[in-house]
């Protein structure tokens, strides 16, 4: 089991993050929605609080949470809008974990302290216009030119690209191969000549988060930029999969945090709103909606915890992590739908938080592997295990 933080200290971290979410973040949600940006003072407070370094080891200035602790703290933070989580999300998760897991000592020393403090934003650039779910087939190339590599291609929907200080870029180093085998991961400073970050995308929800296309035009990087060093040439896709594996538990925890919020809002509404002479919460069909939310929320939370513990104990949890992301995010979708239904017409009005939360959580079923991709992973492994091949 990874050491993590002492449990008494950890409880204080949870308490502090919970209070920060309730007292500082939730009151800013409407402003973030209207301005499509997180106010600078909130960004500074999130930095001061140490949130960018949750999963960076303590020796590099982070908090060094283990996976179950990270999941619980992310659940706590995600009681507030997912937009705030997105700001720290790439530093805690996909943007930084590759360096934490597979980086060389020099790479970790160079990048992790800044990532932990939030002074450097780390982005993860895998998806391309023609390769989303089929990430192993990416076309961005990194061809050797003397002692350097020249990166060419376009990445799509890259979270936090506009703020990025460094990208983990996945590119094909072996043009002979078309699959995942010929892909390497590079650590590329965002100010390297040849990188263009396009105007941020307009999105359905999570306003205030930023995703963009990132165009690499003959971006030259030395061999030492290969994540994990030259030995890991052509082996970058394994890093991507390991990072996403851990990330799936993290996304499950996000879904749980938001589900709790939506259930709380819906419950308050059911207590307050009266129809036919009594609070709607006293009508049994409304109680049915609430009960289904509560039952699924409990199941989701328990699943996150169990998978996180497995990951910590065994260093991986492929089926568990996919089941977790799949179940928790789909459950969050159902919970959002019921919570909105309980609001009646009010739920369709922007004045009520549920209208925004409903749009925000829709993303969870899409990124870091769609629900269908999770189903594929789960089913293939299940079949293979039973067939005795895994």
């Amino acid at each position: 089991m990874m050491s993590g933080v002492d449990s008494d200290v950890f409880e204080q971290l949870v308490e502090t993050v919970g209070r920060f979410a309730r007292e500082r973040l939730i009151p800013e949600e409407r402003r973030v929605e209207e301005e499509d940006a997180i106010p600078e003072d909130i960004i500074d407070e999130m930095k001061a609080m140490g949130l960018f370094g949750l999963s960076v080891p303590q020796e590099f200035g982070g908090i060094g949470l283990n996976v179950p602790q990270e999941a619980r703290l992310i659940e706590t933070l995600c009681y507030a809008s997912l937009t705030f989580r997105s700001l720290i999300g790439t530093n805690v998760g996909i943007g930084a974990q590759g360096i934490v897991m597979d980086g060389t000592d020099e790479q970790r020393e160079r990048w992790l302290p800044g990532i932990a403090s939030g002074d450097i934003i780390a982005s993860f650039a895998l998806t391309e216009p023609d390769h989303g779910s089929d990430a192993g087939g990416i076309r961005t190339s990194a061809l050797r030119d003397g002692s350097d590599f020249a990166i060419n291609g376009t990445k799509r929907y890259i979270t936090n690209a506009v703020r990025a200080g460094v990208f983990t870029v996945f590119a094909r180093t072996d043009p002979e191969k078309t699959g995942a085998d010929g892909v390497s991961a590079f650590i590329v400073p965002a100010d390297t000549p040849g990188i263009t970050v396009a105007t941020p995308d307009r999105k359905m929800g999570q306003r205030g988060t930023k995703t963009s296309d990132v165009i690499f035009d003959d971006v030259r990087v030395p061999e030492s930029a290969i994540l994990g060093g030259p030995d890991r040439l052509h082996r970058g896709f394994r890093t991507a999969m390991k990072v996403l594996d851990r990330g799936r538990i993290h996304v499950g925890a996000m879904a749980v945090g938001q589900s709790q919020r939506m259930l709380d809002i819906a419950t308050d509404y059911a207590l307050e709103r009266k129809q036919f002479g009594k609070p709607i919460g006293e009508h049994q069909l409304v109680q049915g909606l609430l009960a289904d939310c509560q039952a699924e929320l409990h199941a989701a939370r328990a699943l996150v915890r169990a998978s996180a513990e497995t990951f910590d104990r065994e260093g991986k949890a492929i089926v568990e992590a996919s089941c977790t992301k799949y179940f928790c995010t789909e459950a969050a979708g159902r919970i959002a739908d019921r919570a909105l239904q309980i609001h009646g017409g009010a739920g369709y009005m922007a004045e009520y938080d549920i209208e925004r939360l409903y749009r925000d959580i829709r993303l969870l079923r899409i990124y870091e592997g769609t629900s269908q991709i999770q189903q594929l992973v789960i089913a293939r492994r299940t079949l293979a295990q039973r067939a005795g091949r895994a």
Binding site: F20, A48, M49, Q58, I63
Partner: protein
């Protein structure tokens, strides 16, 4: 300059407090506890004085059960340098607290003791004043602003109808009001560092103070529930009701 900040562990301000069924007090089992909000303001003020270079050391002290360590750790995470726990499982009344604090002041010789004006559990609003009396120091209660100049403290106090400014010779006692400052959130790295800061454990006996209660609580009750209003047809009915039923006219 050294500042002493007493902090109390109380039922969290978000909790809906329930009276025990036998009326002997309020239910504290399995209830969320945290630092008294006025004490948070006191810790914040002390840390700001330290950050401004006015104070060198901030010492937090709590009198209470073992669990009060958590409250002290919060103070340490916010920025206090070290902490003292005076351990007792008794309910300690303001006078006993003030006596223990006096003994600690004699030992530590702070120039300033910053306390919350009251604890949100018993709302006594006495400890700071009693401590000032026991020490024979000046006091600036209900502070809205604290300025330290040399050997003097200028305290702006919240009083009925406005603000009053008093000048005190140091050493002195300050009690904090709500608007003195907005306490910071302890950062996660500082919460972790707090674990390594010194925390001494003592008992009331170490200071020769007898904490036995001098007051007896006769009864604790829930506030009366508000009964539903009644809509009357006309003014005559209202007058009749006020006269004959409520007896207020």
């Amino acid at each position: 300059m050294k500042i002493l900040v007493p902090v109390k562990r109380v039922i969290d301000y978000n909790v809906k407090v329930r009276v025990k069924s036998d009326g002997s007090g309020v239910e504290t089992a399995n209830v969320k506890m945290s630092m008294n909000p006025f004490d948070e303001i006191a810790v914040e003020e002390a840390i700001r004085l330290k950050e401004a270079g006015t104070a060198e050391e901030v010492v937090a002290i709590s009198i209470g059960p073992d669990k009060a360590q958590e409250t002290l750790r919060t103070a340490l995470a916010m920025g206090a340098d070290r902490a003292i726990l005076v351990k007792t499982d008794e309910i300690v009344e303001p006078l006993s607290v003030a006596k223990i604090l006096k003994a600690v002041v004699d030992e530590e010789s702070p120039k300033l003791v910053v306390l919350g004006k009251q604890a949100i559990d018993d709302d006594a609003n006495q400890t700071g004043q009693m401590l000032a009396a026991l020490l024979g120091w000046g006091q600036g209660t209900f502070a809205n602003e604290v300025k330290i100049e040399g050997e003097k403290a200028e305290i702006t106090r919240e009083v009925d109808g406005g603000l009053q400014t008093v000048s005190l010779d140091l050493p002195a006692i300050v009690t904090t009001d709500l608007r003195l400052n907005e306490p910071r959130y302890a950062s996660l790295p500082n919460i972790m560092k707090a674990k390594k800061k010194p925390l001494d454990t003592k008992t009331p006996d170490d200071y020769g103070v007898d904490v036995a209660a001098r007051l007896k609580v006769l009864k604790t009750e829930e506030p009366p529930e508000r009964s539903a209003g009644e809509i009357l047809e006309n003014v005559d009915q209202l007058v009749d009701k006020l006269k004959n039923k409520e007896g207020v006219l």
